[in-house]
């Protein structure tokens, strides 16, 4: 009888006697296997997705009518702070790094990551951070009225986040939780880079790696190494300010509130690329397989991604156009922000070029990737609009920006996370997810998501700022807020269907076999799920698509690359 743990376990070791539950859980707790840790990262992310989604639903319910009294301002401010913080640090990062954890060794023909124990350490530190953040709801002032969670926004601007304006410990929970999980993420990034640079199977030169590995193992991990420590540094400074009486961001002592913003956004902007590039990585694997064509322009895709990674370090102050930096800095960051739109747009064209002339099968993964293409196009264009500084002077800190970044983080990242789930779930579990439920999931999500977030662009243009717990009735914002809230139950239902799909398919899904999608990268050469050691023998590759070469021996990729 197959339990979930068995399904994700190691078939070769299955014996006729059932391993006791406690022993199986113990295996998972002490594991250093990248596949299990990857799954644990993803499960952690999904749990926090539900929590953060609930927080968002409450936010939309409060805003559905003007001057609503469903939530007090204190509760509302905690909700949007927790929603943002949770989504970025405890949903996005874990799920995306979880996929990287699972797939990178398999794709490069390795047996595990370079530092398996460091991998486990990174995971447990991240989980600890998430739990610490949510401990804030119960510790300190306690739960009644849902108090004591941080309420300074996910970005915790100074001096609001300093002791003078945020007494108590709620801000410290925010600070310490992200510090902890940040170190976990840095550890995982070091691990991924070392793995990518050092453990590729023979024949897999850097230019033969799957795009997923380039994007996750090199660019995203490299970026994280450089940009996450500045956030940690700024948070340590905030910690010193709050506990040791230092004056890093203390304007009364001559400190600069803007300095916090520079440090935070130096992290914060590349961070959103850290959340978006994995979406590109998923698309770059899934779109070719479902279009039955090799990715169009592999070298340019690599160059564009590296270019995005590098340039993204130089655009951070486009979050600060309204701070009053002066004309020249404003112009500089406008230029760099517009510049980064070029490699980003180029990638859309490359995916388009892959689909063009193909024989596209619209399985559920491809449905999500297709929606991603349209939605990311919108997101990129509204981003270019916001790079036009005067336009940004009107719309920064308004719902237009909220709509823009949700188009990126949900429309691109979350949608492609679901694409990746449907695509690689068979590999991890040996069972297919149900296609019918998948289609329901997709259509509910795409309709609900667009209903909410297309609408929010307009209410931002009509002058509605962010982070307000209510709004006056005479501003003309009611209809838009009502429509935006109507999208919430659809999205909720979609996620629920996905979870039902997962639970049902784990037990009764169609057996997947090694290669249900007829794909071309090395992970599809192993059984589903792969054994603990991944490969019987370390493979040797001669092109970017080793399985294509095997399936088409008369026309291997090596002749064309």
């Amino acid at each position: 009888m197959h339990g979930i743990a068995d399904t994700l376990g190691y078939p070769e070791e299955a014996t006729s006697t059932q391993v006791p539950l406690l022993a199986r859980l113990h295996e998972w707790v002490i594991t250093v296997d990248h596949k299990r840790l990857g799954i644990m990262y993803i499960c952690m992310g999904l749990v926090f997705l539900l929590v953060a989604g609930l927080e968002a639903s409450l936010i939309r319910l409060q805003l559905v009518v003007p001057e609503n009294t469903l939530l007090s301002p204190q509760v509302f401010n905690r909700l949007f702070t927790m929603h943002g913080t949770t989504m970025v640090f405890f949903v996005g990062i874990p799920i995306l790094f979880g996929f990287a954890n699972y797939l990178v060794p398999l794709m490069i023909g390795a047996r595990d990551l370079a530092f398996p124990r460091l991998n486990a350490f990174g995971f447990w530190l991240t989980l600890f951070g998430g739990l610490l953040l949510y401990l804030s709801y119960v510790a300190g002032d306690g739960l009644y009225g849902a108090g004591s969670a941080p309420d300074v926004g996910w970005f915790a601007y100074a001096p609001l986040a300093g002791r003078a304006f945020s007494p108590g410990n709620s801000t410290d929970y925010w600070n310490l939780a992200i510090l902890a999980s940040g170190f976990g993420t840095i550890a995982t990034s070091v691990n991924l880079i070392a793995t990518t640079l050092s453990l590729r199977c023979p024949g897999m030169t850097l230019s033969r790696m799957p795009l997923f590995v380039w994007m996750m193992g090199v660019v995203v991990s490299g970026m994280t190494l450089v940009i996450l420590p500045p956030l940690s540094a700024a948070q340590i400074m905030l910690l010193f300010d709050r506990f040791l009486g230092s004056h890093f961001f203390d304007t009364q002592a001559g400190g600069s509130a803007v300095l916090w913003q520079h440090f935070f956004w130096f992290f914060g902007h590349p961070e959103v690329y850290v959340l978006a590039i994995p979406a590109f990585a998923f698309a770059s694997e899934i779109i070719p397989v479902f279009s039955r064509k090799v990715i169009f322009g592999y070298p340019m895709m690599v160059a564009a991604t590296v270019g995005i990674g590098v340039v993204s370090m130089g655009v951070w102050a486009h979050h600060m156009f309204a701070v009053g930096m002066g004309r020249t800095p404003n112009a500089f960051f406008a230029a760099s922000t517009m510049l980064i739109g070029v490699p980003t747009g180029v990638k859309i064209f490359n995916w388009l070029g892959t689909m063009y002339g193909g024989r596209i099968r619209f399985g559920t993964p491809m449905l999500f990737c297709t929606a991603f293409l349209f939605q990311f196009l919108c997101a990129g264009l509204t981003g270019i609009m916001l790079a036009v500084v005067p336009f940004d002077w009107q719309l920064t800190d308004s719902y237009f920006v909220v709509a823009h970044f949700h188009f990126v983080l949900v429309g691109a990242t979350i949608f492609n996370i679901f694409a990746a789930m449907y695509y690689w779930f068979p590999k991890a579990t040996g069972r297919m997810l149900n296609e019918t439920l998948g289609r329901w999931h997709f259509w509910l999500l795409v309709i609900g998501f667009n209903l909410t977030f297309v609408t929010l662009h307009f209410v931002g243009i009509l002058g509605m700022p962010r982070r307000i717990y209510t709004y006056p009735a005479d501003r003309g914002w009611e209809l838009w807020n009502l429509v935006a809230t109507l999208g919430v139950p659809l999205q909720g239902a979609a996620i629920l269907l996905f979870l039902i799909n997962v639970i049902l398919s784990l037990r009764r899904g169609k057996p997947a076999g090694n290669d249900p999608w007829d794909a071309w990268t090395l992970e599809w050469s192993t059984p589903s799920p792969p054994p603990a050691y991944n490969f019987d023998t370390i493979p040797e590759v001669k092109s970017r698509r080793p399985l294509w070469d095997l399936k088409h021996p008369s026309d291997p990729d090596g002749l064309h690359e």
């Binding site: 530092f115 450089v226 040791l244 230092s246 890093f248 002592a253 400190g255 019987d536």
Partner: protein, 203 residues
């Protein structure tokens, strides 16, 4: 049982075993760590530079700071000695290893002692703490973080010394010892930056 698509081993390997070489994962890991640490310390350097001259009240750097010549010499010398230790390990000179490693540790401890003495003077004689003004804030955090990393280095070097003395450290561990020395060189390099920013530019 289906073991997956067999990868044929009969194809002439492009890289016969031994020819396929990549960066050692240990080096890659330590390089990654050093990049992350550099980024972290870099922000403290930026904060220090940004706040030069902006304290609203004294004491000011020129009033209280001397140039830490002895400390600097100790740390620079320790980089040399640790390099000598690693070379000795690679060549199998056990006694030299057991000498240079503890010398490095002692030099590192001397640096920490010098820092502690400097701080004692600043706090007790001049009343400069982390909360006194922007100078105090940025000085103690930057120099303190560096000293913290020196401490970590000293701990690792002490461990290496113990392994050397116990005979467990072999030439096969040359790469491991070298990577510890890389960390130590990094700490030394950061000190050069701190010296320049705090004691030369900022004074």
């Amino acid at each position: 049982m289906n073991k997956g698509i067999p990868m044929p081993s009969v194809l002439t390997p492009e890289f016969p075993s031994g020819d396929w070489s990549q960066l050692s994962h240990r080096r890659a890991g330590v390089i990654g760590l050093i990049i992350a640490e550099a980024s972290l310390l870099g922000i403290f350097v930026v904060a220090y530079l940004f706040y030069i001259g902006k304290s609203l009240n004294g004491p000011y750097p020129k009033d209280v700071l001397g140039v830490p010549v002895v400390n600097t010499l100790c740390l620079l010398a320790s980089s040399v000695t640790v390099g000598l230790a690693v070379r000795a390990l690679r060549q199998g000179h056990r006694r030299l290893v057991s000498t240079w490693l503890p010398v490095t540790v002692v030099l590192g401890l001397a640096f920490l002692a010098g820092t502690a003495q400097e701080w004692y003077g600043l706090i007790v004689d001049h009343g400069l703490t982390i909360g006194t003004n922007l100078f105090g804030t940025t000085f103690y955090s930057l120099v303190g973080f560096h000293a913290f990393h020196v401490t970590i280095g000293v701990v690792m070097l002490t461990l290496l010394t113990v392994f050397a003395w116990s005979g467990a450290l072999r030439p096969t561990h040359a790469e491991h010892a070298e990577l510890v020395s890389w960390y130590w060189h990094f700490v030394d390099g950061v000190w050069i930056v701190v010296l320049t920013v705090v004691y030369i530019i900022g004074r």
